[in-house]
Symmetry: C2
Subunit: 341 residues, 2 copies
DNA sequence: ACTATAATTGCAAGCGGTTGCATTGTGCTT
DNA sequence: AAGCACAATGCAACCGCTTGCAATTATAGT
């Protein structure tokens, strides 16, 4: 592995000159530049990014740690969408993304801090929305820029996040169902330990309350974001007979698809007898029959924004905190309809 | 940012001792170890991974560069599956994954070599199966271990790859269709520039030839792995009237789903009138109605193997070349059936 | 108590670039 | 021809951690 000194020796110049030639910034006479480049070429020299990082204290890398906190995590469209947004931005700025894997919430936090502490990245996007107060507090103490995808529960004026207003949009979604005449509406949430689940549940309640519909604990179920979770929710709720829900709101499309599958096996027509709404606008939501009405959450855009915030903070080394809600969109397709009488 | 020297000063020892204390390898008296750790704690010291990497010439990172060579790349299950496999292995060995993004085949190669040359990773998994001979040749010259996901066209005894025998399994899949009585079978390929597309086409031809069915150029179409590609293929082929295919083989599930959507709009029953087979066993293949018969390609397992090969090469610094075909599985579900007479 | 040997710890030279400052070289001005 | 500004290089000290080897204990053997 040729170093900058080897090249310098061969080109008969000082290492610093080689460094300057490669940085492209400094002014180097055309002649020596050429000499250096041929020497580099002959030696098959490539600047060592690690050494450079150590010297300039910049890695041109942003990190993300991915929790496989539930099986099927990679079946969902969340991760690929976030990755897509990140890569898109990162690519344009000559950055890379460093991905850490983990299996549990704890490992997730551990890895996050390991990356933070060890300076392997210039910034980090933090996914886990289960982060408790202390973690965010700890994150703030480090000087490494970070942005949360999913806002923290407590309010911090100085932490950046991007999110959607889950409560508001869930309320809107459920209100749509109510407007279609539905009264008995099931809520199939994800993991109850996750912040977003609470926010959605609150939105759901808000919609019921606004319409003067009594909350009914039996209508609440948690499918942990898995297709099977949606399926079993229907199995349980279907037994309620004439008290069974006539509409289902599911916190992701996978569960909504599970709901539809269960209804199909029970010979219940969608949307004829029961309406179903999912969340996220996963690719399959469009391919399923009937096409799933879904609340589109712009995860890729959130990731884009997160990456942009981070890269701005890094390159301009200014650190304005950005807290931003993006808009969701209710995509009304074929799995919902008016209550049949 | 506290350094090892700060800790050393505070603990009253030499920096090298601190280094040893943190490495865990060397023998340090319990007493000084404790002193060092409290000092480190007080200073909120975390070893700098970059500096360590520079010194030990190891980054504990494997790289992958993701081409967005076609729109919808992130809609397909290929990328998330590969990522899942990678993260799983990588996590267990304390490695991370460095992801580069790119937009074109050229950028992809550029980034790959940039990462290779700049020593930002200890190994790299190379996805693009369009890599031509020269590129693989160039890869071999570097000393950085790499493994291809998807075997190269030319034979190299010393390059590692993992793949499935696309030709053989496509032949098997098409043979299944023939066995069901189909004769007019359409082939909806991905990007014709991609190696795997040729392999599959060959398998398709092999199956026809073996059954003595004439090859028919009109039956061949390329959908570039997009749902819409499958849809338009049917639009074109459906016009053939009684010469229209009675079965479709699509090179991924997205296109197969597009095929089914087109057939649905044309009121053609699946599998009653026409059979459809996809490839990959994407999550949605199971959720679509009728459930898609598909050739499962074990991408996650391929990635696992690739990561393992890489990490072994890195940690044992032995570099046996592993070339391995994994098995596919034809999952017969509800989108295929016997030819209706 | 006094070596011989083993266990700890210190020293210093890296790992491969970067960069502020000093030095040399070139072209102009007067 | 001397003086000066400015462009192009060279010098050397980092960035923060590792590690072979030397020096300094601590432990053991007699």
């Amino acid at each position: 592995m040729a170093t900058i000194r080897d090249v310098a020796a061969r080109a008969g110049v000082n290492p610093s000159t080689v460094s300057r030639a490669f940085s492209g910034q400094a002014k180097i006479s055309e002649q020596t530049r050429r000499r250096i480049f041929v020497a580099a070429e002959e030696l098959n020299f490539h600047p060592n990014a690690i050494a450079r990082s150590l010297s300039v204290r910049r890695t041109q890398t942003i990190a993300i740690v991915v929790p496989h906190i539930f099986p099927g995590y990679f079946e969902d469209s969340f991760f690929p969408q976030v990755m897509r947004g990140l890569l898109e931005v990162v690519y344009q700025h000559g950055f890379r993304v460093l991905v850490g894997g983990s299996n549990s919430h704890e490992d997730n936090i551990t890895q996050t801090f390991q990356i933070l502490g060890s300076q392997q990245a210039d910034g980090i996007v933090v996914l886990s929305n289960r982060l408790d107060v202390d973690t965010v507090g700890a994150l703030r103490k480090q000087k490494m820029p970070f942005v949360l995808v999913g806002r923290p529960l407590a309010h911090y004026a100085d932490v950046s996040w991007v999110d959607v207003d889950n409560e508001r949009y869930t309320q809107m979604t459920v209100a749509y169902l109510i407007q279609q005449g539905h009264q008995r509406i099931a809520f199939v949430g994800g993991d109850p330990e996750v912040a977003v689940t609470h926010e959605r549940l609150n939105g759901y309640y808000a919609a019921l309350d606004a319409a003067g519909i009594c909350r009914h604990p039996e209508w609440i179920d948690y499918g942990y974001f898995a297709e099977a979770g949606g399926y079993t929710a229907v199995q349980r709720l279907g037994r309620l007979g004439k008290a069974a829900p006539t509409a289902y709101y599911a916190a992701n499309d996978l569960m909504a698809i599970g709901v539809m599958r269960a209804l199909r096996t029970m010979q219940i027509a969608v949307p004829g007898e029961v309406s179903v709404i999912g969340t996220n606008d996963a690719p399959e939501s469009l391919h399923v029959v009937p096409a799933l009405t879904t609340l589109r959450v712009p995860y890729a855009e959130m990731a884009v924004l997160a990456a942009e915030i981070l890269i701005t903070a890094i390159t301009k080394s200014e650190r304005p905190s950005v807290q931003r809600y993006l808009d969701c969109e209710l995509l009304i397709r074929d799995s919902t309809g008016p209550l049949s009488t």
